[in-house]
């Protein structure tokens, strides 16, 4: 009985510590959200940073293009942009969306998809001064991985190991509901 109590106490301590170590910004190399952890890399170009789930690995690879791969066109990798926009509207309450819109910057999302169009990994790239929190990006990541599906041109992507697809999301355009908010 005493052992059980000790175990329960330790379990609670771990839980409390986990909660305490949840980070509120991306200002260090490794940050923790509620369940996931993220590696943060300062980006050489124009004061950006890249945020990757620590389980991601494809972004570290250099994609090998099959012989005679043609440059894919946008229509070769289609997806429902309105769904991506909806995920953002659901994730960011109106006031929060407005604050991000005031910062008027793009969020770049790198998807890696399998050849069936299922999302394997999601990476985020944004300017250092955008005030995303790890919890926000965790929510986004979970839903984007679960809900977004790509329609890929089989002919163009034949022989690929996986397919990289990039999306830009502009918060100012999101709040104005313009068609190119997700592009």
């Amino acid at each position: 009985m005493k052992n059980l109590l000790v175990i329960a106490l330790l379990f609670n301590l771990v839980r409390v510590n986990t909660c305490l170590t949840q980070d509120t910004d991306f200002n260090k190399p490794l940050v923790h959200a509620s369940k996931e952890s993220y590696a943060v890399n300062e980006f050489a170009y124009d004061h950006h940073k890249t945020v990757n789930n620590t389980n991601n690995y494809l972004y570290k690879k250099i994609l090998k293009y099959p012989e005679h791969a043609v440059h894919p066109e946008l229509r070769d990798k289609q997806y429902d942009r309105s769904l991506v926009a909806k995920i953002f509207y659901d994730t960011f309450p109106g006031s929060r969306l407005k604050k991000l819109a005031d910062e008027n910057l793009d969020l770049l999302i790198d998807f890696d998809s399998d050849l069936q169009g299922n999302v394997l990994e999601v990476s985020f790239v944004f300017k250092n001064n955008i005030s995303f929190t790890p919890i926000e990006l965790e929510k986004l990541e979970i839903r984007l991985k679960k809900e977004v599906k790509f329609t890929l041109n089989d002919k163009v992507f034949k022989g690929y190991d996986y397919v990289p697809i990039t999306t830009f999301v502009n918060f100012k355009r999101l709040i104005n509901h313009t068609a190119d908010a997700v592009r």
């Binding site: 124009d46 066109e73 793009d106 163009v156 592009r183």
Partner: protein, 234 residues
């Protein structure tokens, strides 16, 4: 097969509903064509001809810039011979600028492949004395300019010029294209000094990805700007 003979003409002008005994020649299916097609090589079969024609139709329908380049060639009477090859080892297509013959890999007859070569022809018309002078020295500049052009007109998310680069280089390139196009809303008509430096940086990365093209000589991408200015595209 027995065919009923028409009755003798009674002079009334009424032929009794029989078909005209001397009809005009039946129309035969004319070979499909396009304003930019001079002809096809003999080796291009009907199905491949259709693929090439579809690619040309798509090219001119894609956007203002491509439509402009297409119309420019059409209005000038510039025509191309289209061939296919099943033995191209390293490229999807190429163009002989002396004869304007475009040869496409039989497995990659796409709008992009055709469009790349049409842009090379356009470059040839923009650069004083043509672009043949940049082969081999400067070839990488010409090829990168073409890839850069594709990435602008297709929007910054495509980044084909950086195929094979590291994720951070890919992302930097996409962000930079987004920056010079104001979030894919304008076509740049020039580059600031800082952006020209950035262009040269990505040109060098492109060279590292394609070292067989030779070292860059850092040409200004004048055909890109010309295509954005000359056709009045926003």
């Amino acid at each position: 097969m027995n065919v009923a003979s028409p009755p003798p003409d009674d002079g009334s002008g009424d032929d009794g509903g029989y078909p005209d005994p001397t009809p005009e020649a039946c129309p035969v299916d004319a070979p499909p064509t396009d304003s930019l097609v001079r002809n096809f090589c003999d080796s291009v079969n009907a199905s491949q001809q259709k693929e090439i024609l579809d690619a040309l139709s798509q090219f001119k329908a894609n956007n203002c810039v491509q439509a402009g380049i297409y119309s420019n060639f059409a209005n000038n009477g510039t025509k191309f011979t289209f061939c296919v090859s099943s033995t191209m080892l390293t490229k999807n297509a190429n163009i002989d600028l002396a004869t304007y013959t475009i040869t496409i890999n039989v497995n990659t007859i796409t709008t992009t492949a055709v469009g790349e070569e049409l842009f090379h022809a356009y470059q040839n018309s923009v650069y004083p004395n043509g672009t043949a002078q940049y082969n081999p020295t400067g070839r990488v500049d010409i090829e990168f300019e073409q890839a850069f052009w594709q990435d602008i007109i297709q929007t910054s998310v495509n980044a084909g010029a950086m195929n094979g680069a590291s994720q951070s280089d890919l992302d930097a390139y996409k962000i930079w294209i987004g920056s010079i196009t104001n979030g894919d809303t304008i076509y740049p008509r020039s580059l600031s000094a800082a952006d020209q430096t950035q262009y040269n940086h990505f040109l060098y990365l492109y060279y590292q990805l394609h070292p067989t093209m030779g070292t860059p000589i850092y040409l200004t991408p004048q055909a890109v700007f010309s295509s954005f200015i000359y056709f009045g595209c926003k």
